[in-house]
Point group: C2
Chain length 145, copies 2
Amino acid sequence: MSLNRIVSVLVIGAVAFVAMAARADDQDDIDYRQHIMNTLDEQMAAIQQIVQHRAPVDNLSIHLQIVAVTAATAKDAFTAKVPGGRAKPAVWANWTDFSKRLDELVASTAALARSAKDTGVEATAAKLGTLNCKGCHDIYLEEKK
Amino acid sequence: MSLNRIVSVLVIGAVAFVAMAARADDQDDIDYRQHIMNTLDEQMAAIQQIVQHRAPVDNLSIHLQIVAVTAATAKDAFTAKVPGGRAKPAVWANWTDFSKRLDELVASTAALARSAKDTGVEATAAKLGTLNCKGCHDIYLEEKK
């Protein structure tokens, strides 16, 4: 094999590797947003336990912060119009509304995190209903099969 | 019913409610730490996708921050000596080592989050191996059945 041929194979190989590494397929997009939404589920479950005094109440603020920061990654995760998983097509059909609701989730959980720090668990628990998770899930999330 | 009796019932009721609300049982302790460890799993999976360029690379720093903040809640979650779930008894038998490793996880993921912001995804990806998840899991985490 000539040196030119070897170099050529290496270059093609390198280009192919970069292209492969840089391209997320549809399943990647679905996986990524599921990691984010599962994180929100786990953290909301921890928050639920705290509100019921079944977990350390001093951690309420930090879990709400985690929800806020995680929710801030969700918009990127849903930008690619890839139906699948439990996302309803309404996510993309109503993108303006969906992304506005994600922004509101970020803002309201960040505010609740500050509330938890400043006013404690009972005062903050009373405000958690304002998150209205169900209002968004009814429109955008398929029921579990 | 006399007023005294009514007050007495209300007081006993209130005390019972507070006691019930304030007492986490063993399953609560297990549930809480599982919500935290599942969050770490989901976030590490997102980080793995980013390193493989299968998710938005600009989010690497934020996911590493979420891991750091979440890991900071794990020590509280394991403080209660409650075997169960996938935690090996070694967690409590070697508490000094286990909690030191959690502290190291917090510090190293916070440093990696800064690295991702300052030096980008490739330079940070090369350092992710230093987290040595397996080193800790081999000692403290039961295999999935």
